[in-house]
Symmetry: C2
């Protein structure tokens, strides 16, 4: 199967949307790319840098002859975008997204009245600390995972086409259930971020922090992430994250018990298990991250 | 005051003890350094590399004409070393250590019958991921903090001499109460380590971990630390760490509540406060770590 996209419309032309645009242009599989966004300056940059061919601030007009539409906006903004485009989309258009949570996005799409057979939920796991079209580059997704989470209604043709599109970015594509995706992300990303925020809040005292060193810097790096983005992700994946918080609370409770009873054997078992799990993970996958 | 150490005995000639030896030799303020340790190979390396002048496996003999004795062994081993040397020390010798917890070490020294006026508890906050005399280098402590926590019995002369010794390493010396030291370390080092271990244990599932990326790697780096060392530190600073665990559990509980009630405003406040605290810390001290 050889992919050919006539008109790709990217709603949210930032790092993710822009990098996909560049990768697909480089692969020569897309004829025209229109960017839609709230910032005229960012869209101007995107055109100047050859990320998109043209731009629009009218979302309904922009999608009316699209054959592929990508939502690359924060997850909390997806509901409104689905409502805006549901009735304006031409019948053959495929819709996909790049949000960090998937069950919430599927629910938003269903509520909007979108034809769910043509919606392929996706989450490319890639990013940098920069944002905006000017930060986009065509190899962002290379060797990174892109998880597709088709709903029960997603058609096989829609799924195949989105999968083909992401293959051109060099991403490693995995297909799984949206709930499984959200549980995995709660573990490897959402809980670590919320824990880093909590740790800083629990300990914050400038007179104490001035003694902190490199280990603290690394451990708390993700606490410098965008509060707005993490509020949205937390709200959209609240159930899975709550389960993981409970698991962490349970572990902290066990450690607390061991400390109070001076149970060195229990502490050693816990620390050894954690170190082994982390070291095994690093030796298996560390070269790819 | 010009420092001159006639005979420095280092018990535990690893990264910390060895690096202090090299710094003092380079400064020309020590005539002879004897290394004491359990590993003949490590002591052999230390002599070959010029870290120490001679070595001994008889701790009582080694200290009998020392004027400065440094304990650079794990905190859990200090009690036995104090007992071993208490009666063998000449009357003028000053004793210091480099342990990560200070109240426990002071208690161990007191129990051993050591002359407490000559004991200066110290904690140089420096290290690398390597260990052993072969990993030692003279600039390890440069621009790092070295905290001295004299007990009520420590004499002013002993404190002055140990302070002078650490100055030659280029360390920034701070003097504080042992309890304050242990509280600070519980915050900036001990709780982060225990949290990293707990997080890994709470989430561990190889099928899930394979999706983890760079943020997870940084956040969990300290979970690859030595389980034995962390067991010892945790046992030696259990009370302070327990307080910090309580504070973290309180924060996690608040987040859980906010998630369950979909309280985006509360989440945003928490995340913003954490990001601001972390960013402020980094801009104030980040260049020095």
């Amino acid at each position: 199967m050889s992919l050919s996209i006539q008109h790709l419309v990217i709603i949210g032309t930032g790092l993710i949307g822009g990098s996909l645009a560049l990768a697909l242009k480089q692969a020569g599989v897309v004829k025209r790319i229109t960017g839609v966004g709230r910032s005229p300056q960012n869209l101007h940059d995107a055109i100047r840098l050859g990320v998109i061919d043209d731009a629009s601030d009218n979302i309904q007009q922009a999608v009316q002859d699209a054959d592929m539409v990508l939502l690359a906006v924060p997850v909390a903004a997806c509901a409104q975008v689905f409502k805006d485009i549901a009735d304006a989309l031409p019948e053959h258009a495929i819709i996909t997204d790049a949000g960090s949570t998937k069950q919430s996005v599927i629910k938003d799409a269903q509520k909007s009245g979108l034809d769910m057979s043509r919606f392929v939920p996706a989450h490319p796991i890639a990013g940098t600390e920069h944002s905006g079209a000017a930060a986009a580059f065509p190899t962002l997704f290379q060797n990174h995972r892109c998880i597709l989470t088709p709903s029960t209604e997603t058609s096989a043709e829609s799924l195949a086409k989105v999968r083909e599109m992401w293959k051109y970015t060099g991403a490693n594509i995995e297909i799984m259930d949206a709930k499984q995706h959200d549980d995995i992300m709660a573990s490897i990303s959402h809980l670590p971020h919320l824990t880093a925020f909590s740790l800083i809040n629990a300990l914050h005292d400038d007179d104490v922090f001035r003694f902190a060193a490199g280990g603290f810097r690394d451990f708390t790096r993700i606490a410098s992430s965008s509060p707005e983005m993490w509020r949205d992700i937390a709200l959209c994946n609240a159930a899975a994250i709550t389960d993981k918080i409970d698991a962490l609370q349970h572990e902290l409770h066990d450690l607390r018990q061991a400390l109070q009873t001076q149970n060195g054997e229990a502490l050693l078992q816990k620390f050894t298990a954690a170190k082994q799990a982390r070291d095994q993970w690093l030796s298996a996958y560390g070269d790819n991250i």
